[in-house]
């Protein structure tokens, strides 16, 4: 279905679509327990085993070891450690009943809170465009990351012992080489020299950032100035602000919500959205790192995205089919008493609708998996979850809206992006500096990555003739009549 129309008069060549067949990628199963079974049992002294248990599994492991080896230890010790263990389990189950997500395994947790639809069986697990150039990184099911650059023939593959269950990747802004990777147990920051010809950078090129209790990492976000990296884990009530160069972190703790699942840094750097597994999300202000609490009515905040000038936040809530908007008016740097809006406004209702098309009726709508706003703020892509059970088959689909932010915020339906029959979109991202409009990159369930261009002229671009410069906050004022005559869109469905 997809054919990329390369216009002769367009100097920009759309990156080639890639294909990663699901069958060619083997998911690694390298859990400690599975390899243990392959070896003969080796008799060690109790001390050795206790030390190993302490190292591997901490206090619980130690207590478990002592309780299990009742033949070798005094009876009171094994009994008391058994009691302590039972008490710990009670406490953790009570904790788990307060925050049900804590009982999930870490893979399930990543799948639950990831922005990727059905993360577990996705061939492409994460995708990231470089903020300034045309290269991008793709994290695959086999825990490797590939970097593609149209200007270079080599496509480096990044592999690391700790790089497991990649939930997100993101390039550092204002840097050519640094790529942050959210893994199961840690964060990795790769430094991939753009001029290097090596196809397998050694694991020495990666910085490992880890903090006890901060795993699995499900979301990361670089500050637009490139100075900080924030990371979130649903297991940890701390949100970590990393100084990557020094490998040090500042934990910002807020207990409510029981963890942090999704992070999004506003393009102007002034705010960070941090959603929690509970029906609550926070908006951090990045000057003094204070936060506003936003309790939701129904479920947790599933996804969110910022307008290019950082003044408007769109977000969706699990269990609801609407998009909310929040407006932040206070300019950064001037501490104001007006703490922004008091309530979020509904800007779009995406509940189920039937469209009559020549090919038959299509049912579209439902819950929203993720949102993406193009860097100029003119197109909004919404990944709808779809539904498979019962007679009603509603495939996952991407709905695209035209947006404009001034003089008033407007959201107009623009079209749908659909894949080959039998495939559904899993992940999407806008190209950060596509010169002729917006370029949406979609990763499909069959392992294909395609690019959907939207050609239009934006008034902001016409005024700012900065070739290839990064998303600058665009001026708000824009002649309204100018927009109507320059909009044209090519949808390639």
């Amino acid at each position: 279905i997809f054919k990329h129309e390369v216009f002769d008069n367009q100097p920009f060549v759309i990156p080639l679509s890639l294909y990663f067949p699901r069958e060619s990628l083997k998911p690694h199963s390298r859990t400690e327990s599975s390899s243990k079974a392959a070896f003969l049992d080796h008799c060690e002294t109790l001390w050795m085993r206790s030390a190993a248990a302490w190292r591997d599994a901490g206090l619980t492991g130690l207590l478990n070891e002592i309780a299990n080896s009742s033949a070798e230890v005094p009876k009171w010790l094994s009994v008391s450690s058994g009691c302590v263990l039972a008490l710990l389990q009670r406490i953790s189950s009570f904790h788990g009943s307060l925050f049900p997500h804590l009982t999930l395994s870490s893979e399930d947790m990543i799948a639950e809170f990831s922005q990727v639809l059905k993360w577990s069986d996705c061939a492409v697990r994460a995708f990231a465009w470089h903020p300034h150039t045309d290269k991008f990184a793709v994290a695959l099911l086999d825990d490797s990351i590939k970097i593609y650059n149209p200007k270079s023939a080599t496509a480096p593959t990044l592999k690391h012992r700790l790089q497991r269950s990649v939930a997100a990747v993101q390039w550092k802004p204002l840097c050519a080489s640094a790529l942050a990777v959210a893994c199961q147990n840690c964060l990795l920051v790769w430094h991939v020299d753009p001029c290097s010809l090596s196809t397998r950078p050694s694991s020495g090129c990666a910085q490992v950032l880890s903090h006890p209790g901060h795993s699995p990492v499900t979301s990361i976000a670089w500050s637009p100035s490139g100075s900080f990296l924030v990371s979130a884990s649903p297991m940890d009530t701390n949100m970590m602000v990393w100084d990557v160069a020094a490998e040090s972190c500042v934990p910002l703790q807020r207990v409510g919500g029981g963890g942090v699942t999704f992070l999004s840094w506003s393009p102007d750097g002034s705010h960070v959205l941090a959603s929690t597994p509970a029906a609550l999300f926070r908006v951090w202000e990045t000057r003094m790192w204070t936060c506003e609490r936003w309790p939701c009515l129904k479920g947790r905040c599933q996804s969110g995205c910022w307008s290019p000038d950082g003044s408007r936040l769109l977000f969706t809530v699990q269990g609801e089919t609407v998009i909310y908007a929040l407006t932040f008016t206070d300019t950064p740097g001037i501490p104001s008493n007006t703490k922004g809006p008091k309530a979020a406004a509904v800007v779009a209702d995406l509940s189920e609708t039937t469209f009559n098309t020549p090919g038959g009726d299509i049912v579209v709508g439902g819950e929203i998996q993720s949102l993406a706003w193009d860097p100029r703020g003119e197109r909004l892509a919404v990944l709808l979850k779809g539904q498979e059970h019962f007679s009603l088959d509603r495939p996952a689909m991407i709905a695209v809206f035209k947006t404009r932010t001034s003089p008033i915020f407007e959201l107009l339906p623009c079209g749908f992006v659909q894949g080959e029959p039998g495939t559904e979109p899993r992940l999407m991202q806008f190209h950060p500096n596509f010169q002729h409009g917006a370029l949406l990159t979609v990763c499909w369930s069959n392992g294909r990555i395609t690019h959907v261009p939207f050609y239009f002229l934006s008034a902001g671009m016409a005024r700012h003739g900065l070739g290839g410069s990064p998303p600058q906050p665009r001026p708000e004022e824009r002649p309204a009549d100018y927009i109507n005559q320059t909009l044209y869109t090519e949808l390639t469905t």
Binding site: C175, V241, E247, V250, Q253, T290, P332, I334, G467
Partner: protein
């Protein structure tokens, strides 16, 4: 200026006041924990309440307030924003044996005894008094020594001494600025668990070591106290186990009380230190310009360029970095022109100061690279014989300081932060022994100062408006080597005295063969690199401030004041970038930061060079992404143009 220095003192006083306010709750917690008895909870609670309202508790509170005041004063007196890094074991030894440090250790010992006495009185029971009435074997009543209190008091002294010694080894007096801004309360709340954990662990180790010492040497202070106070040592009646036997020391309740007291002592001191750090490093907003002449000396450009204490200069640079990033209104003041005359004085002062900081660091790095390139290569060939030649070679210039009486630990208000050379000069003279053995470490750092003496051409900002490559600089005279040492240094004999004495060389060669001496002389790994970048936080802020201001100038600078300085800013950044790259390619410089352990020690100075490398690159990219192709119109040398092109294509 005096007013600004007052500000620091006031902040320190505020931190001490908060520490005093936190004393009552921590005393209460200490009482509750020290008297814990789970079997009689009601009795336990009622005892605690009655004790907390008693006169003894109030008296110990007053005593502890005094202790906190003195600790706060010591913090203020000894703190530094530029850590003094000992490059070898012997330099560290010199720091430890310095009179100033000795005074500090002594004061900490005494304070430790006072706190321990308060603890003893609070715990009560057998620790209550120093003497107690007893009857001797012949039946006559006498006053006997209570060894339990003695052991607690001495433990206090020991923990206090350990605290002060570890403070030197771990640079505990170093105050670092946080990159993430938080309100004071939140920062305090965030660090509190760490303080509790650190003091508990530190107390555990100190008590362990103390018990070993007491086991062997405990009789010395005990007999001394007995003699001075005319007390008897009664080992028959009261204590079944004398306390310097293994059985006596393995008294669980005694160990617990020792540990709890040590934890309490360290906790109060660490809290004072933590509050001091939080208060002093809080962002201070300097006005960019003032319409009143009496306030002009408090304005940002004046504070930046003036002869200020290091902390004020750091605060000013921090403020500059933040204002350039966050506040458009203050940026506009920076870009503004002076009212009569129309000169961009603010921008000129700020940019010149930042550029001279960067040029200074570049010079330092190039000089260091040169020394390593000449000496280091010879050293790596073989070990034994070359060490001798190295030490003899480097003994040509020996750094001596006439200011032996002055303090070593802190850069006092008179010290410039231009270069940490002065810090090293002073820190290396702790003992006369130090001097002959550290020149090869110190010489590269002292060279910027010497360069200025030798070549008046390279004053202040060598990069201003001109195009210079580091190759030109590298050809400068190597003043630290033996041959040229005497020539260039005659006018500054008060700091550097060249000694080329064959006798001394022979002595050094002789000593170099001894294992212990070599152990003391060996460079600590990483240390020279850390020392080179000790004050780099200022350079990081200068880079951030400059790059954000230049970025903002693209849309905000109405008069084009930044344009005139843009070439020199870019070239100084590129030159520094090259120097930093070369430094990281040196064999001894590790490419990754070491893992910092969680303790009260602020080890952020160890990673400053990595932060600088990242900040520098980001700063250049910030300018190139903002200006894009316009940069091709900027007047620069071909070499720098080429390098900028790399940045424009995102290939760095």
């Amino acid at each position: 200026m005096s007013c600004l220095v007052c500000t620091i003192t006031i902040l320190a006083a505020a931190s001490v006041a908060w520490a005093v306010l936190l004393l009552p709750p921590s005393i209460a917690v200490f009482v509750i924990i020290s008297r814990v008895s789970l079997l009689h909870p009601i009795q336990w609670i009622s005892e605690c309440v009655s004790l907390l309202t008693s006169a003894t508790a109030i008296f110990s509170f007053i005593l502890l307030c005094g202790v906190v005041l003195i600790v706060g004063f010591l913090n203020l007196e000894y703190y530094t924003v530029i850590p003094s890094i000992a490059c070898s074991k012997i330099a560290l030894l010199g720091q430890l044996l310095h009179p100033r440090q000795f005074v500090s250790s002594l004061v900490h010992c005494i304070l430790g005894v006072i706190v321990a006495w308060c603890c003893a009185v609070t715990i009560g029971g057998r620790y209550q008094t120093l003497g107690y009435p007893c009857t001797q074997a012949d039946g006559s009543p006498q006053l006997c020594l209570n060894e339990y209190q003695v052991i607690l008091l001495l433990a206090g002294a020991f923990v206090g001494y350990c605290h002060s010694v570890l403070g030197v080894i771990h640079n505990m007096n170093y105050v670092s600025f946080h990159t993430v801004q938080q309100y004071k309360y939140l920062r305090f709340k965030g660090s509190l668990p760490l303080v509790v954990k650190c003091s508990a662990i530190q107390a555990l180790y100190s008590v362990r070591n103390y018990l070993v010492v007491y086991f062997f040497l405990g009789y010395v202070p005990r007999t001394w106290i007995c003699k001075t106070l005319n007390l008897q040592l009664n080992r028959l009646v009261c204590s079944l186990h004398p306390l310097d036997t293994i059985a006596g020391l393995l008294d669980f309740s005694l160990l617990y009380h020792l540990w709890i007291s040590g934890t309490f002592l360290l906790f109060t001191w660490y809290i004072t230190l933590l509050l001091f750090r939080i208060f002093v490093t809080e962002v201070y907003s300097f006005p960019v310009q003032s319409s009143f002449t009496e306030d002009v000396h408090q304005c940002l450009p004046k504070v930046l360029t003036g002869q200020q204490p290091a902390i004020l200069k750091f605060l000013a640079l921090h403020d500059l970095a933040l204002l350039s990033q966050h506040s458009p209104s203050r940026r506009s003041e920076v870009f503004s022109l002076s009212q009569p005359g129309g000169h961009p004085h603010n921008w000129n002062a700020i940019s010149q100061e930042c550029l001279s900081l960067l040029a200074d660091l570049t010079q330092r790095l190039v000089a260091h690279h040169d020394t390593v390139a000449t000496n280091g290569r010879a050293k790596s060939l073989s070990t034994g014989s070359d060490k001798k030649s190295l030490s003899s070679e480097s003994s040509g210039t020996i750094l001596l300081s006439s200011q032996g009486t002055e303090d070593v630990m802190t850069p006092r208000p008179s010290v410039l932060i231009k270069t940490p050379a002065s810090v090293f000069l002073r820190s290396s003279v702790g003992s006369p022994l130090t001097v002959p053995f550290t020149p090869d470490l110190d010489s590269p750092f002292s060279s910027p100062a010497l360069r200025r003496l030798a070549g008046p051409v390279e004053q202040c900002s060598p990069w201003h408006g001109t195009v210079q490559s580091p190759h030109i600089m590298r050809r400068g005279p190597k003043l630290w080597s033996t041959s040229t040492g005497e020539r260039g240094l005659q006018n500054k004999t008060e700091h550097v005295i060249p000694i080329v004495d064959p006798c001394a060389i022979w002595v050094k060669n002789f000593l170099a063969k001894r294992v212990l001496i070599m152990y003391l002389l060996n460079k600590l790994p990483e240390a020279s690199s850390q020392a080179l970048f000790a004050d780099t936080q200022s350079h990081i802020w200068a880079l951030e401030g400059l790059s954000y201001l230049v970025k903002a100038s693209f849309s905000e600078d109405q008069f084009g004041v930044v344009q005139t300085t843009l070439p020199s800013i870019l070239s100084s950044m590129l030159v520094l970038q090259e120097a930093v790259d070369r430094h990281f390619k040196l064999p001894h410089a590790s490419s990754k930061p070491v893992r910092s352990t969680s303790s009260m020690e602020d080890s952020s100075y160890k990673t400053l060079r990595f932060a600088l490398r990242a900040t520098l690159k980001t700063a250049i990219y910030r300018i190139t992404t903002t200006f894009g192709e316009h940069l091709n119109a900027v007047q620069m040398s071909a070499e720098h143009q080429k390098r900028l092109q790399q940045f424009l294509e995102y290939k760095e």
